[in-house]
C-alpha cells in the first residue's frame, strides 16, 4: 500500500489541530502540515512539539506561498527545530527570492511544480533551472497541477522522468479550470492512472482535495484507484533523445 495522508490545509485551512482531529481513526499514515500564509508559519512551528504526530510515518510542512524578503532572510532560524526532524519542507518556486538561503537547507527543501496560473515552475523546462540552483532539493510532484497545465499528461510524464529520482511526495487532487483544488473526478482518475506506474510505491500521497470529515475515506479510496500499485522504473534513455548529429548520410 502506498502511504496516504492529507494536507491539513485541505481539511481545515490554517486550523491544523482541527485537521489532525479529523484524521483520528482514518486510514492515513502521512500528513502535511500546512502554513500557506507567512503569518501561519510560526504558530505552526511552535506547536509542532505538542502535536499528535506519532502515528504518521511521513510528515511534511507546506511553507507559505509568499515571503516578505526580510522574513525570508531569517528562514533558517525559524525552521531550525523542524530541520532536525528531517521533514520535507514543501516550497513553491515562485516564493524564492534568495536561492542561497534555500540552498543552505539542502535536501530539506522540497520544490513543488506549479499550476497553470503561475509564470514559472510548471514544466520540466521551467523547473530545471530551479533545481540547478538548488541541487540537493527534493521534488513534490503535484499531479493535479501537472494535469491542469497539460491535460494530455505528457508533461506529468516528462516531470517524473526528469525529476523522479528527487521525488519525496505527491500532492493529489483535481485542480479545476479556476485553479481551485477539488475532489477527484472520473477524468482526473483516468489521467492519473496513465502515469501511476512511474511513481514508486513508497512515495507518500498527500491528498489536497477539500473535503469534510465524512468524505475523507471516500477520497482516499479514489486516490488509491487513481494511483494503483505497480511501479515500473523507466529504462535509461539509449541516447540523448534529440541528438541527431550522428545521422548524416
Amino acid at each position: 500500500m502506498r502511504p496516504v495522508g492529507f494536507s491539513t490545509g485541505a481539511l481545515a485551512l490554517a486550523d491544523f489541530r482541527s485537521a489532525l482531529r479529523m484524521l483520528d481513526g482514518k486510514p492515513v499514515d502521512a500528513v502535511e502540515l500546512s502554513a500557506l500564509r507567512q503569518a501561519e508559519l510560526l504558530p505552526l512551528l511552535s506547536a509542532v512539539p505538542s502535536l499528535p504526530l506519532q502515528r504518521f510515518s511521513h510528515v511534511s510542512i507546506h511553507l507559505p506561498s509568499q515571503f516578505d524578503p526580510g522574513w525570508e532572510a531569517g528562514i533558517e532560524r525559524h525552521l531550525h527545530p523542524v530541520l532536525e526532524r528531517g521533514w520535507p519542507l514543501v516550497l513553491h518556486p515562485d516564493a524564492i527570492s534568495d536561492f542561497g538561503l534555500w540552498r543552505e537547507l539542502g535536501a530539506a527543501v522540497c520544490i513543488e511544480n506549479m499550476d497553470k496560473r503561475k509564470p514559472l515552475g510548471r514544466s520540466v523546462r521551467e523547473l530545471a533551472p530551479i533545481f540547478d540552483r538548488l541541487p540537493e532539493a527534493t521534488f513534490c510532484f503535484d499531479i493535479g497541477h501537472a494535469r491542469q497545465y497539460d491535460p494530455t499528461m505528457n508533461e506529468a510524464w516528462l516531470l517524473l522522468r526528469a525529476f523522479g529520482p528527487r521525488l519525496a511526495q505527491l500532492h493529489v487532487s483535481e485542480v479545476n479550470t479556476r485553479s481551485r483544488h477539488d475532489v477527484l473526478s472520473f477524468t482526473s482518475i483516468l489521467a492519473f492512472q496513465s502515469v501511476a506506474e512511474m511513481v514508486p510505491e513508497d512515495v507518500p500521497l498527500i491528498v489536497e482535495s477539500p473535503v469534510g470529515e465524512a468524505m475523507i475515506e471516500r477520497e482516499i479510496s479514489r486516490v488509491r484507484e487513481a494511483l494503483p500499485l505497480g511501479f515500473k522504473p523507466l529504462p535509461p534513455p539509449p541516447c540523448n533523445w534529440h541528438d541527431r548529429s550522428a545521422l548524416a548520410v
Partner: protein, 351 residues
C-alpha cells in the same frame, strides 16, 4: 545542437537569400509590435494566435495578418470584447482584413480542435484550423493555451497511432501524415472552389501561393513526421517506440519541430544529406525569389489584379510559375531520394 536552421543551410551552401532574410527580420519586428499592441488581452486560458506568413517568418509589407483568439478554458461572455479589442489592435499592422472564409478573426475553441478529428463533425474549417495550428502558428503574448492545445492535438495523433506503437514498418505517424495529406488536397480543391465562387479574382496570386507557400507547409509537416523515423538509429527507434507509454517523448519531439518556421524544418533535414545540397539550393533559391515577388508591391498588386485569362501570357506570373516548377522538381528529388531513406518513407507513407 547540430546546425538546423535556414541561416545554417544558407551559410553551409554559401548561398545568399536576401528576401528570406528580410522577411524574417520584418516578421520578428512585426510580432514584437503586435505583442505590445495586444498586451493584457490574453490570459492563461486564451492565446492570440497568428498564422500565415507572419507565423512562417515570411512576412512582407503586403501581407495580411491572419489571427484568431484560441480559448482553452471556461466560456466567458467577455471573450467577445477581447476579440473586438484584439481585432482593433491588430488592424493597423495588416494590409487588408482577415480572409473571407471565416478561418480567422474569430474565437476558436480547443475542444473541437482536439476532439473532432475525422468523421462528419470534422468540417473543412476545423481540419484547416487544427492543422494550421501545427504547421504555421505562433502565439503573440501568453502562449499557455496555444501550447496546451498544440500538445492536445499532437497527443491524439501520436497516442492513437496504432502502427507507430505496434506496427513493424517505418516509425511514421501515419494518422498525422494522412491528415496532412488531407489538408494539402483540401487546399488544392479549395483553390478551384474559390476560382468558381470569385470568378477568377485573385486567382494568379492564390495559384502561386498554393504552389509555393501552401506546398511548403505540407512538405515541412511531412518532413517533421519523417524525422520521427529518420532522426534516429534503429537501436534508438527500438527504444523510443517500444511502448505507447513513451508517447510523451514523441509528442515533445514533434512540438519542437512544429515550433520552428517551416523553412527551418526543411533546412534541418536537408542539412543532414550533403548529396541533396543541389536540390536544397534549388528549392530555397526558388522560394527566396517567390518571397521577393511578394515583397515587391508592384508585382504583388499586379498579380492580385491579374485576370485569369491573362495568366498564361503574363511575364510576372510566368516567372513565378517557373519558380514553382523549380521548387516542385527539387522537392521531387528530395522526397524520392533513396540514399537518405526519404524515398522509402514517401512510398510507404503517402501511398
Amino acid at each position: 545542437m547540430p546546425p538546423d536552421s535556414l541561416e545554417d543551410i544558407e551559410s553551409q551552401l554559401g548561398a545568399d537569400w536576401p528576401h528570406l532574410r528580410a522577411a524574417r527580420q520584418l516578421s520578428k519586428d512585426k510580432l514584437l509590435q503586435i505583442s505590445e499592441a495586444v498586451e493584457h488581452f490574453d490570459s492563461e486560458d486564451t492565446s492570440i494566435v497568428v498564422m500565415g506568413s507572419l507565423a512562417r517568418a515570411e512576412f512582407t509589407d503586403g501581407s495580411d495578418i491572419d489571427w484568431y483568439l484560441l480559448i482553452d478554458g471556461w466560456a466567458d461572455k467577455a471573450h467577445r470584447d477581447v476579440l473586438r479589442n484584439v481585432g482593433e489592435a491588430i488592424r493597423p499592422f495588416s494590409s487588408k482584413p482577415v480572409g473571407r472564409e471565416g478561418t480567422f478573426g474569430d474565437m476558436v475553441f480547443s475542444h473541437s480542435l482536439i476532439h473532432d478529428i475525422g468523421g462528419d463533425v470534422d468540417t473543412n474549417l476545423n481540419t484547416t484550423r487544427r492543422l494550421l495550428l501545427l504547421l504555421e502558428s505562433r502565439a503573440v503574448g501568453r502562449p499557455d493555451a496555444w501550447r496546451r492545445v498544440v500538445r492536445g492535438v499532437l497527443d491524439r495523433y501520436i497516442a492513437e497511432d496504432r502502427g507507430l506503437w505496434r506496427g513493424s514498418g517505418p516509425k511514421l505517424p501515419h494518422f498525422l501524415v494522412n491528415d496532412l495529406s488531407r489538408l494539402w488536397r483540401t487546399m488544392a480543391v479549395d483553390f478551384a472552389y474559390k476560382l468558381n465562387r470569385r470568378g477568377g479574382q485573385g486567382a494568379a496570386l492564390r495559384n502561386i501561393k498554393l504552389r509555393m507557400s501552401r506546398k511548403l507547409i505540407y512538405i515541412s509537416g511531412l518532413l517533421a513526421c519523417y524525422d520521427c523515423h529518420l532522426g534516429f538509429t534503429q537501436a534508438e527507434r527500438s527504444a523510443r517506440y517500444s511502448s505507447s507509454s513513451l508517447k510523451g517523448v514523441v509528442v515533445e519531439f514533434l512540438e519542437e519541430r512544429f515550433a520552428k518556421p517551416p523553412l527551418d524544418v526543411v533546412a534541418g533535414v536537408l542539412l543532414r544529406y550533403p548529396h541533396l545540397y543541389n536540390a536544397a539550393r534549388q528549392l530555397l533559391e526558388s522560394y527566396d525569389e517567390f518571397v521577393g515577388i511578394l515583397a515587391d508591391d508592384e508585382k504583388r498588386q499586379h498579380m492580385e489584379r491579374l485576370a485569369e485569362d491573362q495568366m498564361d501570357t503574363d511575364p510576372i506570373f510566368q516567372r513565378a510559375r517557373q519558380l514553382s516548377h523549380a521548387f516542385r522538381d527539387a522537392l521531387t528529388e528530395v522526397f524520392f531520394d533513396q540514399q537518405s531513406g526519404l524515398g522509402d518513407l514517401t512510398k510507404g507513407g503517402i501511398f
